[in-house]
């Protein structure tokens, strides 16, 4: 086993997981105020109305597919009658559909972000970095599915990647499982690890604010002043996006009084 393999398939995922967990705790502890979707819908809603639901529904399907494919051993699925063939058809075609939905949504959202002036100005450097890793992860995942599953002979990741993931989860890592995995799958896994490491420091934290309790709470919320405790203004922390004025407009034609 080479050092590189151990670094890639043991150290990197665990490091990413630690950053993911500790980062979220840290951010929740110290930046509740910055924990938001940072919606730009007030600036533009025509494109968002299509792009955002497409992306989000697509990515939820993708996540569900990953849970089934990676976490559930295939013997369990055999037991309830889902054979390899049925699984392969479902995973490939539903996966492709979800991928198309997600990527099309993402394309609309990125296009909107770049072309709508106020939205572009409200885009932070962190957002841009996040888009690169998110886009790369999605692109490699889709490429892997297309190249090996749809047009290729089919690669049985449930014999390699899935056991590797489950091994990582129960702290019995087996990097050897990942060595024979095709390139695009490997790239997909690596970019995903990097994305997870980046996650707590981006707007992606809003995933963990999915308002499920809304379904079960009473409509009107009462809270005592004393229970709220000391709330109020707080300093902007290093590392995320402070509330700032939009950048200075270009002052091309502007001439200044020359300094004496």
């Amino acid at each position: 086993m080479s050092t590189g393999a151990i670094l890639l398939w043991v150290v990197l995922p665990y490091a990413a997981a630690v950053v993911f967990v500790v980062g979220h705790i840290w951010r929740y502890r110290f930046d509740k105020f910055g924990w938001t979707t940072r919606s730009s819908q007030t600036y533009e809603s025509r494109l968002l109305r299509w792009g955002s639901p497409m992306f989000h529904i697509g990515i939820l399907m993708v996540i569900a597919g990953h849970v089934v494919g990676l976490l559930i051993p295939r013997e369990w699925l055999y037991a309830i009658g889902i054979t390899e063939h049925i699984y392969h058809l479902g995973a490939t075609w539903m996966g492709t559909f979800a991928a198309v939905l997600t990527l099309a949504g993402l394309a609309i959202l990125v296009y909107r972000r770049r072309t709508t002036g106020p939205v572009f100005l409200a885009t932070t450097p962190m957002d841009k970095v996040m888009y690169v890793f998110l886009g790369a992860t999605l692109a490699f995942g889709t490429l892997a599915t297309l190249v090996y599953q749809v047009f290729g002979p089919g690669f049985s990741y449930r014999e390699s990647i899935s056991p590797w993931v489950r091994g990582m989860i129960i702290f019995q890592p087996d990097p050897a499982l990942m060595l024979q995995v095709p390139l695009f799958f490997q790239l997909h896994v690596v970019t995903a690890c990097l994305l997870f490491a980046l996650w707590p420091f981006t707007r992606l934290v809003h995933v963990f604010s999915a308002p499920i309790p809304y379904l079960f709470r009473p409509y009107i919320v009462y809270r005592s002043r004393d229970a709220v405790g000391r709330s109020g203004m707080r300093p902007v922390r290093r590392g995320w996006d402070p509330v700032t004025a939009p950048p200075e407009p270009r002052r091309g034609r502007r001439s200044r009084v020359p300094r004496p």
Binding site: T37, S231, G232
Partner: protein
């Protein structure tokens, strides 16, 4: 019966001169920050008019507030919980910035620093969203004093409900001002719409607030509020709304808008209400019954049973006394001249309005008749169906009778008090015509016309025995991260728990001083300078100043 206390406001529209002082002082106090340039916790609308944001009262379009289902239950007009969550990725009922207006500043620097030339330099408007030149097309009070209303008036959702003939007559007939803040409703649909549970009604005083640390920016509150008084801070990605100036109210001071109102038209006080009765009152079948149902939800603070129940709920004696002295209770229940804004939204709003009589008086006076004679005024109220219908659309879901009665009471007061002042006659027949006694009428006159500060604002401070806990009264700097604190948080001095509202820390001060772009790069915007410290850029650079002196 579950007794709760509610801080409320009544505005006497007869006295509003539309000067916007309340809006300006409110803005300086609360929303002079980046991201909330377009946010007016308090705004003053000219009526008839389209309001702010434009046509916010058109609930067919914006879907705010509650509706009564066929089974007699309340449901959010924009749909229930699952329906809201299903549209969380893109909220289709959210007003865009252009439904408010695109915030802008002016290129003032041009006026100071442009070189000498043939033409006078011009400060061009610059968008605060894009930084580019823009054409100003709308603002918070663009149709002020019916300005340009020939083009926009037909968009007024209330006029749309009235007949064509009325529309043609509106401009001749009627104009008045409507100052608006958050209604701090008893049945707030914004709170019910918030998926995160970040919005809440304070159990002590009923003020509706947004927990900025819990808000996740889903924006459902903006759609849920039929008054569109929850705003989205487009920089922080969080909802913000009128706070009823809770840091001031907690220490017994009136809100900024009330304190600075030049017409002294705002009244502040507590009312006690039965929280268990709110849902039933908000779901009465006939919209015209909502006003009376809401009046009945409010509890008589002099009733021994109510006092007993209030004590059982832990409401302190000084608060019960304040509720007994409340001008709000008198105006809503004793005199019944105050009416709620749009009760048909079924949110049980708690900022009420005394409808304006002065347009009626003007009409009577302009025809050469005595504008203070009771019979003339009563006749005019009967005849002026257009303004009364419009007021009824605003305050009583279209039922003209309560508006009629309120205006008659105001007219009777006018003429009865003139009798006392000029002729020394107490003509009780005038007051009896509106179902009041002369003494009551004089009391109402005192409250409405003389309106001493302590009669207008009956605000019990938060409980004295808890005073040391109140954030605004704490003088210790020994909170975590404060100047008196020895150690810093684990990640340096700027990390750790949040700090009290009133203690402005270094970063917040710096941010506020530099948040709005000053006209000259590197200089401090003096409008945002609070007089503390000497930030960089407060004065022009030194060497330059010396050179100017030397030359």
């Amino acid at each position: 019966m579950k007794v709760m206390a509610q801080m409320s406001m009544v505005m006497n529209l007869d006295k509003c001169i539309g000067c916007h002082t309340c809006s300006v002082t409110c803005k300086q106090a609360w929303t002079n920050r980046t991201g909330v340039e377009y946010v007016w916790f308090n705004n003053v609308e000219t009526r008839p008019g389209v309001g702010y944001p434009r046509t916010y009262e058109d609930q067919e379009k914006w879907r705010g507030g509650w509706v009564r289902t066929k089974r007699g239950r309340l449901k959010l007009r924009d749909g229930g919980r699952l329906h809201k969550l299903s549209r969380i990725f893109s909220n289709p009922k959210l007003p865009e910035i252009h439904d408010y207006y695109e915030p802008w500043t002016y290129d003032y620097d041009m006026l100071l620093n442009s070189p000498s030339g043939e033409h006078t330099p011009v400060a061009r408007p610059k968008s605060l969203l894009t930084g580019k030149d823009m054409k100003i097309g709308w603002s918070a009070n663009w149709d002020d004093n019916l300005g340009g209303s020939l083009e926009t008036m037909d968009q007024d959702p209330l006029l749309a409900k009235m007949s064509e003939e009325v529309k043609a007559e509106y401009e001749k007939a009627f104009m008045f001002y409507l100052p608006r803040i958050c209604e701090h409703c008893l049945n707030p649909s914004c709170v019910a719409s918030c998926p995160s549970g970040a919005m809440y009604k304070r159990s002590e005083d009923g003020i509706v607030l947004v927990d900025q640390d819990a808000c996740r920016g889903w924006r459902m509150c903006v759609s849920g509020c039929p008054y569109k008084k929850v705003y989205f801070n487009h920089r922080t990605g969080k909802a913000e709304k009128c706070t009823f100036c809770y840091p001031r109210v907690e220490v017994g001071m009136p809100t900024v808008c009330a304190e600075t109102c030049v017409g002294r038209l705002r009244y502040l006080g507590l009312v006690l209400y039965d929280a268990d009765a709110v849902a039933a009152a908000a779901s009465v079948e006939d919209e015209h019954d909502l006003l009376e149902a809401q009046r009945q939800v409010l509890l008589d603070p002099n009733d021994p049973a109510v006092i007993e129940a209030a004590r059982a709920e832990g409401i302190e004696e000084d608060w019960i006394h304040a509720a007994q002295a409340s001008p709000i209770w008198k105006l809503i229940r004793d005199y019944q001249v105050a009416l709620p804004l749009h009760p048909e939204y079924r949110t049980m709003p708690m900022v009420w309005y005394i409808p304006p009589l002065s347009p009626v008086v003007d009409v009577v006076s302009n025809t050469g008749n005595d504008g203070e004679d009771a019979d003339n005024l009563f006749a005019a109220i009967d005849k002026l169906r257009i303004p009364i219908g419009y007021l009824a659309e605003l305050f009583t879901a279209g039922d003209t009778a309560p508006v009629d009665l309120a205006l008659r009471k105001l007219a009777a007061m006018r003429s009865y008090m003139r009798g006392i002042s000029l002729d020394d006659v107490r003509d009780e027949s005038i007051t009896e015509a509106v179902g009041m006694t002369g003494t009551q009428m004089e009391e109402m006159y005192r409250l409405l016309a003389i309106a001493k500060y302590e009669e207008r604002y009956v605000i019990p401070p938060a409980h004295a025995e808890q005073a040391h806990d109140l954030e605004e009264m704490g003088c210790s700097l020994d909170f975590e991260g404060g100047p008196g604190m020895g150690g810093a948080g684990p990640f340096g001095s700027s990390s750790g728990e949040s700090v009290p509202v009133a203690v402005e820390n270094f970063q917040a001060l710096k941010n506020r001083q530099t948040a709005d772009r000053p006209s000259t790069a590197g200089r401090v915007n003096l409008l945002n300078w609070d007089g503390n410290g000497r930030p960089d850029g407060l004065f022009p650079p030194g060497p330059q100043a010396q050179d100017r002196d030397g030359s």
